[in-house]
Amino acid sequence: MAAESRAKTEHRWPVALFTVAALVILLLLPNAVQVFPSWLVPAIGLVTLLPLVAMNPHRLNRETTWSRWLSVGFALGLAAVNQLYIVLVVRLLLEGKADGPSVLLTVLAIWVTNVIAFALVYWQLDKGGPVARRVEGLRDNARQDFRFPQQDNGPTGWQSQFFDYVYFSLSNMMAFSPTDVMPLTIRAKALMAYQALTGFVLLALVISRAVNILT
C-alpha cells in the first residue's frame, strides 16, 4: 500500500527546475527594479527550499505540518515578492525614461516569474497540495480548487501534476480567462482574476508604452 502510493507521487525535478529558473531570473533583474540587494530574494528562497528538498529529494511523498507551511509560504512569498516587482516595472513603464528593449526584457522576466509563482501557488493550494493529492489518508477531504478536463465527467484516478498548473497559469496570463481548467472556489477565482488582471495591465502598458519608446 505504501509502495503503491509512493509510485504515484510526483517527481521533484519539474517543480525544482521551474523554481530555480524563477530565482535565477530574479537574481538577474536590472537595478532599475531592484529594491533589495539582488541576491537577497533568491538567497532566502534557496534557504527555504533546502529543508524541503532534503525531506523529499526525489518524489513528493512525505509531509509534516511545518513542511506544508514552508512550501505554501514559499509559493505565496514568491508570488508576493513578484507583485512588488510588478509595481516597480509598471512605474518604470509609466515614467518611460528607460530605453525600449531593456524595459521589454525586464517586463518579460517579471512576466515569466509571475507565471511560475502563480503556478506554484495553484499547485500548492489545490486539493490540499501535491503530497495530499496523491497520498491516501492525508487531508483526504480537502476541497478541490480547480477542475481539469480529465475530471469533467466526475472523479477519476487521474491526478494533476506541476506542469498542468504551469500550463494553465501561462494561458491565464496570456488569454486572461480560464480555458481548459475551471476555478471552483472563491480563493481560486480571486487568484486567477488577480493574475489575469496583472497580465492584462502589463500587456496594455507595454503596448501603449512601447509604441512610443521604441521609435
Binding site: Q150, Y167, M174, S177, D180, A210
Partner: protein, 231 residues
C-alpha cells in the same frame, strides 16, 4: 466486411495535409531575403524530398503506415516546426533592433509569414501526435488506440441532446482530421488559450503552451514595433 467499410470511411484524405505543407513551404521560400536564406532553402528542399515518399505510401487516403513512413511524416512536421522557431527568434531580434521606417512593411510581412507558418506546422505536429497519428487514429480499433493527447467536443457529446449526440465519437465513430487540428492551432495562435479542444497530456500542453507563447510574443512585438514604424 461491414467493419472494413466503416474503417475505410474513417480514413482521412491526403490532400488537406499536403496543401498545408505546400503552403508552409511556399511561405518559407518567400520570406524576405534578409531572413536566414541558407536555412530556409535547405528546409524547403528537405521538405519536398520528404513529402514525395509520404505521398507515394498514401496517395489518396491515410491507410498504410510503416515504421519508416511514420518517422518520415513526423520528421517532416518536426523539421518545419524547428525551422520556424529559428525564424521566429530571428524575427524577434529584428523587431527589437533599431530600424528605419522603410523596413516596416518587410517586418510586418515577415511576422505574418512566421505566424501563419507556425499555425500550419503546429497543426501538423498535433495531427501527427494525437492518438498515434492519422493512420492509427482512423485504422486501428478504438480500444487499441494510444492515450489521447487532445479531447475534442465530439469526444464528450454522447450525453448531449439527440441531434448533437448523433455526431459524437461514441455514436458515429468520429475521429479528428487535419482541419480539426488546423482550427485548434489557428485559434490557439490568436487567443493564446485552448478553444474547443483541450490538451490532456503534458507533452500536448507543452506544445500548445509553446505555440501560444510564440504567437503572443509576435503579437506584442509587432504592435509595439511595427505600429510605431508605420505611424
Amino acid at each position: 466486411m461491414a467493419s472494413l467499410v466503416e474503417k475505410n470511411s474513417r480514413a482521412e484524405h491526403r490532400w488537406p495535409a499536403v496543401i498545408a505543407i505546400v503552403v508552409a513551404l511556399t511561405m518559407y521560400a518567400l520570406l524576405p531575403s534578409s531572413f536566414l536564406p541558407a536555412l530556409r532553402y535547405t528546409v524547403v528542399g528537405i521538405g519536398i524530398v520528404l513529402l514525395i515518399p509520404a505521398i507515394i505510401v498514401n496517395p489518396l487516403h491515410f491507410k498504410r503506415q510503416t515504421k519508416l513512413s511514420r518517422w518520415v511524416s513526423f520528421g517532416l512536421a518536426a523539421l518545419l516546426a524547428a525551422a520556424n522557431q529559428v525564424a521566429l527568434v530571428q524575427l524577434v531580434i529584428l523587431l527589437l533592433a533599431p530600424a528605419d521606417k522603410a523596413q516596416a512593411p518587410v517586418l510586418l510581412l515577415a511576422a505574418v509569414q512566421v505566424w501563419s507558418t507556425n499555425i500550419i506546422v503546429f497543426a501538423l505536429i498535433f495531427w501527427e501526435l494525437d492518438r498515434g497519428g492519422p493512420v492509427v487514429r482512423t485504422q486501428a480499433k478504438r480500444t487499441d488506440l494510444p492515450e489521447a493527447d487532445f479531447r475534442f467536443p465530439q469526444d464528450e457529446d454522447h450525453d448531449a441532446i439527440v441531434e448533437v449526440a448523433i455526431g459524437s465519437s461514441a455514436k458515429s465513430n468520429w475521429t479528428a482530421n487535419f482541419v480539426d487540428y488546423l482550427y485548434f492551432s489557428l485559434s490557439n495562435a490568436m487567443a493564446f488559450s485552448p478553444p474547443d479542444a483541450v490538451p490532456l497530456t503534458n507533452r500536448a500542453k507543452l506544445l500548445v503552451g509553446f505555440q501560444a507563447l510564440g504567437s503572443y510574443v509576435i503579437l506584442v512585438l509587432v504592435i509595439a514595433r511595427v505600429v510605431s514604424l508605420l505611424g
